[in-house]
């Protein structure tokens, strides 16, 4: 069990770490200053979540690894984030749609985890829930604005949704670690959240005049450590300092 418990917490931590890293690439590049701040703020929230979750994972693992050793010194195969989170930002549309799809999921997950039998995890969830709700509200408003904005913004936002949608299947497909954690009452199997996630997401997409893409047989496998080609480039940047100066304190 403790192996799957660790796996589950690592996935949560790596999702936050990798999406936080992606969002932090936006610094100085957003369409308006307010969004520069909002994106930096979300990145900051996610990095904060990653710190707590990876610290907790390190304790569960029991090998004395701290947040930084986990964040910076694993090989690609050992990162457990969803492929969704590592995809390049592309334009503001794709970034926004991803934030929307992902934070809708995070809200549901943190709601459930706030009642976890893992009290450390429950405390992290309670704190993260507030942040995820803000991310969801903020990105949902933008999805609607962009979807129901100009012809160009409609096109771009629909393209973003079409691109990202196939990566959502990974969140809700059955998984052994998930099942074990659910059985132990630590947290929900992610697949349990699919209906609630759809109920949260679909009305917004409709208001945004977007077409929900058809499901496809594609299954990404980031949470099993099989990532996309984008991940390696992200890690080269993320890890650069720690790899170059092993053992140094910062």
């Amino acid at each position: 069990m403790s192996q799957q418990h660790l796996e589950y917490v690592l996935r949560l931590g790596d999702n936050a770490l990798i999406l936080g890293q992606r969002l932090s690439e936006w610094c100085g590049r957003a369409p308006v200053i307010e969004e520069d701040l909002a994106l930096a703020n979300m990145a900051l929230d996610l990095i904060g979540q990653a710190r707590l979750l990876l610290t907790h994972a390190g304790k569960l693992e029991g090998k004395g690894r701290d947040e930084d050793q986990l964040a910076f010194l694993r090989v690609e195969r050992d990162y457990r984030n969803l492929t969704l989170t590592e995809l390049p930002n592309h334009d503001f549309g794709r970034t926004t749609v991803r934030n929307f799809l992902f934070s809708a999921f995070q809200v549901l997950l943190w709601e459930r985890l706030a009642r976890s039998t893992d009290t450390e995890l429950a405390a992290i969830a309670a704190k993260s829930l507030k942040e995820a709700r803000y991310h969801l509200n903020h990105s949902a408003e933008w999805v609607i604005r962009l979807g129901d904005g100009t012809a160009e913004s409609q096109l771009r936002t629909q393209a973003a949704l079409d691109y990202l949608w196939p990566y959502m299947a990974e969140l809700f497909s059955a998984d052994a670690a998930d099942a074990a954690v659910a059985a132990a009452g630590i947290g929900p199997a992610w697949s349990e959240l699919e209906a609630a996630w759809q109920a949260s997401v679909l009305p917004v997409l409709e208001e945004a005049t977007l077409t929900v893409p058809a499901n496809t047989p594609f299954r990404s496998q980031g949470r099993l450590g099989r990532h996309s080609e984008h991940m390696g480039h992200l890690l080269a940047t993320l890890q650069h300092m720690q790899r170059t100066y092993p053992g140094a304190q910062w």
Partner: protein, 310 residues
């Protein structure tokens, strides 16, 4: 003339001028230029630090840097808002930045080459900025003064964080200490240039009379040098100026000759990063055009819908 007398009296009494008060056109123009230049500096200043967010060497430092850059954007926002109280729009000001018509602080045309630069920017650049800005908290224009109070509070927090970053590195490996010293060597002179030309070369009579600039460039610079020398000792770094030494007679530190050619070159557009900084800001603006248009179109649609519903 009656207005002028009132205005002058208010300033002489140390009172604040507020947006609805009468003010001389030159006073307004000077403030718009100075406040917007300050706002631009905050916005452009996000770039050299943003350069290291994705490579920050620990999660804690990454979080601190993200928060800091966010603060800077926030400063930009409320400085633009202060400028807007003088009857100009933010877009107008921002376009003057992008077209190269408006200036921003020349210091941001220097590159951040190593992680130590992030610490040194906090320690020296924010430190110099605070010296410049503290007197502005009492400047005669109310909205500017109030904005500066908030800015200064956050900046001094950033300065302490920068110092702490450097202290941690100085306690680390030889490579880390070398990195800090290298960064100090590169940033020291540009930092003391931030106070601008020597008093005898600069014309600030009006801004002084109007209570905008209350302390001279050289006085601020001296204050900064005196404060920094002590901090450098605590850190254990050498400031790269062999002429720097305590002058007991003056009760201040003497220091070497500033290379004003370099200063004017960078101000004139020929620093390492002038072109890239503006290009990056322009690119963001252009690539974001469709988003701003969409937000506008949606707002108009919504307004029309609400009108129909009413």
């Amino acid at each position: 003339p009656e207005y002028v007398a009132q205005f002058n009296a208010r300033i002489d009494a140390g009172g604040f001028i507020e947006p609805k008060d009468w003010m001389p056109e030159a006073y307004r123009r000077t403030l718009v230029r100075q406040i917007s230049q300050h706002a631009h500096s905050e916005i452009v200043g996000m770039l050299p630090e943003g350069n290291w967010i994705t490579r920050a060497p620990s999660l804690k430092r990454k979080a601190i840097l993200l928060a800091k850059v966010q603060d800077e954007g926030g400063h930009g926002l409320y400085l633009y808002a202060a400028a807007e109280t003088l009857g100009v729009s933010r877009d107008e000001l921002y376009e003057a930045l992008l077209s190269g018509k408006a200036k921003y602080s020349s210091i941001f045309n220097y590159p951040t080459l190593t992680w130590a630069d992030i610490g040194v920017v906090g320690w020296l650049v924010d430190g110099a900025a605070i010296m410049n800005q503290i007197p502005l908290c009492k400047c005669s224009y109310g909205p500017y003064a109030r904005a500066m109070i908030r800015v200064c509070k956050e900046e001094s927090f950033h300065q302490r964080q920068g110092f702490d970053l450097l202290l941690t590195m100085m306690k680390g490996t030889a490579e880390q200490r070398e990195m800090v010293q290298d960064a100090v060597n590169r940033w020291w002179w540009p930092s003391i240039m931030m106070f601008g030309p020597h008093d005898h070369d600069s014309v600030h009579t009006e801004t002084a009379r109007w209570g905008i600039k209350r302390i001279s460039n050289d006085d601020l610079r001296q204050k900064f040098v005196d404060a920094t020398v002590k901090q450098a000792e605590v850190l254990g770094v050498t400031l790269p100026d062999p002429a720097l030494k305590w002058n007991a007679e003056r009760g201040h530190h003497d220091f070497g000759t500033i290379d004003w050619d370099e200063f004017w070159n960078v101000v004139g557009g020929h620093g390492q990063c002038n072109v890239d900084r503006l290009a990056e800001r322009k690119r963001a603006w252009e690539e974001g055009a469709w988003v701003r248009e969409a937000a506008l179109a949606y707002a108009e649609k919504q307004a029309a819908r609400e009108q129909r519903a009413a």
